[in-house]
Amino acid sequence: MDTGSHLPKTGMIGELSETRYWIYLLLLPSLVIILLVIAYPTIYGMAISFREMRLTRPGLTGWVGFKHYIVMIDDPVFWVALKNTVLWVTFAVVLELGLGFIAATALNRNVPGTGIFAVLILVPYFLPNVVAGHMWALLLDPRLGVINDVLVRIGILSSYKAWFADPNTALAATIFVEAWHGFPFFALLLLAGLKGIPYDLYRAAAVDGAGPIAQFRLITVPMLKSVIAAAVILRVISLVNSPDLLLILTGGGPGDATQVLSLYAFQTAYKDFNFGYASALSVVMFVILMVFAYAYIRLSKIGQE
């Protein structure tokens, strides 16, 4: 036998791949995992919301129907958290979209050095929440924070401010940190959207006599609509669902000034081990999100693509 550079034979799997079972073979491993770590827990989680389950009191168990949901209606923290969630998500998304748009437009001009700037601008998105949170806690520290120092030096502030401890500024401060962390995501998607607009459209508009502002209004915005819509919905979902940054920065305080639904649900589970009520809170969150996503997709018509 000659020992040429033969690729190894693929054996039994190779033979199996020529049968009609191949497709199921490809899907099976991931389906098993998905059923195990997604489908089953999801259903189980919804079931828990109709049960009493407190790890601190093992004796307390059993079905309680809609008890947790009824308790929720009279829970003042729930309503504060709902209000804060709306504020937090709305302002963060608006801020991120604005910053992202400015960054994307600047990057899209392709001036020399754009590649390096693009990488630098993207860095915050990949920074871990834990590091981002403590880093900003340091920057905004009431005694040692460099931002306070700078603001006092240039005369905007008269004295150092405790941004996260003051109920009037705490939510705004966390929104600012979140915007820093999340705007690169918008920059990235909007840049891709801008690159997808055929340059001929702008040439045609220029020939037709449209100035930069008219071009922006008549070409850029309509062409970017679906990208913006998709980016906003993805961001809203992730903002509503992840309390990480707030957990690290404020823990919901002072008082309930920065308490949002996801954080409230997490703390109910993590601190009080009240799994039943925490599940009910997250189910409500999920339902609100689903309704919002459905209405949003309907209105923005991104579902057609």
Partner: protein
């Protein structure tokens, strides 16, 4: 070398049937062209022959042996793709030899076979290159080299020339014909280009909507199209159609429309009076005639000299037709013109079924 036989081949995707009972026989060493517009099912049929897709019903036999249960690798076929499908990570040499490599042919034999194929296609100097560094025509040759090196029973071509520019396409067409002549391997060739079909095929199957419209040799398809679709699809500029009425006394058929009068012998002996029919005449069959005894009378509408010919558009009582006339044509727009053609070259179709009505000696 092998014969190919398709027997009642059907294919559906879900509830959508894309091939309805295809029957085709190809002789050993023959060249079968599957011709049709996009979406007619020709590429699907080729994939079924290759085994890349499974038939829903029917049988495919290569050299009398049913292959529908065999994987593509076991059918001993080779295929050339529209996009060439050269493996981008491999050199030209390895691309051509890949099929032999997969079959465990040893290095010495493989190198010899690759070299022979490369010589035949004049690409020996390209063997070390990557596909990305080749021109379109060179890629085409490598793709063909990959097919011929294995010496398969059957070559399958899937629109192999449609990514080339016009000049290169004509060149490669000739090359394919030469190769087929030299190797003598049976070929199934998919195209939407009727010139490729006419020049290359020993058999042509014209397809539309998942049905074979006509299966015959190219000359028959050109001269005696089975229906109006085939008549219109083959030939450039395409066949002229004039609607009118047809009467037959059993021996002579008489077609009449405003400005048109054609008489032809009727072989079937069928007798009918005044039935809606369509007359088909190829532009290249039309000749200028005297006013007496002409077939068609009309007004010159547009005159387009192309060099070797002059294309003249003529209005015959509001029905436009095109005639391919000699280069020195002196007629002017708006003038009357009389035309006629050999009665053996005209076709008649039933206006309702669009099927051919047999004439003369058919």
């Amino acid at each position: 070398m092998a014969t190919l036989s398709l027997q009642n081949v059907q294919k559906s995707y879900g509830g959508l049937q894309v091939l309805h009972g295809i029957d085709v026989e190809l002789e050993d060493g023959g060249f079968l062209v599957l011709l049709g517009p996009s979406g007619c099912g020709k590429s699907t049929l080729l994939n079924l022959i290759a085994g890349l897709d499974d038939v829903s019903a029917g049988d495919i036999r290569i050299d009398g042996r049913s292959v529908i249960e065999l994987a593509p690798k076991d059918r001993n076929i080779a295929m050339v793709f529209q996009s060439y499908a050269l493996y981008p990570t491999m050199s030209v040499e390895r691309n051509i030899g890949f099929g032999l490599e997969m079959r465990g042919v040893n290095n010495t034999e493989r190198n010899a076979a690759v070299k022979q194929a490369a010589d035949l296609l004049q690409i020996s100097h390209l063997l070390d290159r990557r596909p990305a560094n080749l021109s379109g025509g060179q890629r085409q040759r490598v793709a063909m080299g990959r097919a011929i090196v294995r010496n398969p029973d059957l070559f399958l071509f899937d629109e192999p020339l449609s990514n080339l520019d016009a000049k290169l396409r004509a060149e490669m067409r000739t090359e394919i014909k030469r190769l087929h002549g030299r190797l003598g391997t049976s070929v199934v060739y998919v195209t939407h280009d009727q010139i490729e079909a006419m020049t290359l095929g020993t058999k042509v199957a014209v397809m539309k909507g998942g049905y074979i419209q006509q299966f015959a040799d190219p000359q028959t398809i050109y001269e005696k199209p089975a229906n109006m679709f085939v008549a219109g699809f083959i030939g450039s500029p395409s066949m002229n159609f004039v609607t009118g009425t047809l009467t037959s006394d059993g021996r002579l058929a008489r077609f009449e429309a405003p400005g048109v009068q054609v008489e032809a012998p009727m072989s079937s002996g069928e007798i009918f009076g005044a039935k809606a029919a369509v007359l088909g005449i190829r532009p290249e069959e039309l000749k200028i005639a005297d006013s007496a005894g002409s077939m068609l009378t009309g007004i010159i509408d547009v005159v387009e000299p192309t060099g070797p010919d002059t294309m003249v558009t003529i209005r015959i009582a509001e029905q436009p037709i095109v005639a391919r006339l000699p280069p020195r044509f002196f007629g002017r727009v708006g003038e009357a013109i009389w035309l006629s053609a050999d009665v053996r070259s005209v076709s008649l179709f039933d206006a309702e079924t669009e099927r051919r009505i047999p004439l003369g000696t058919e």
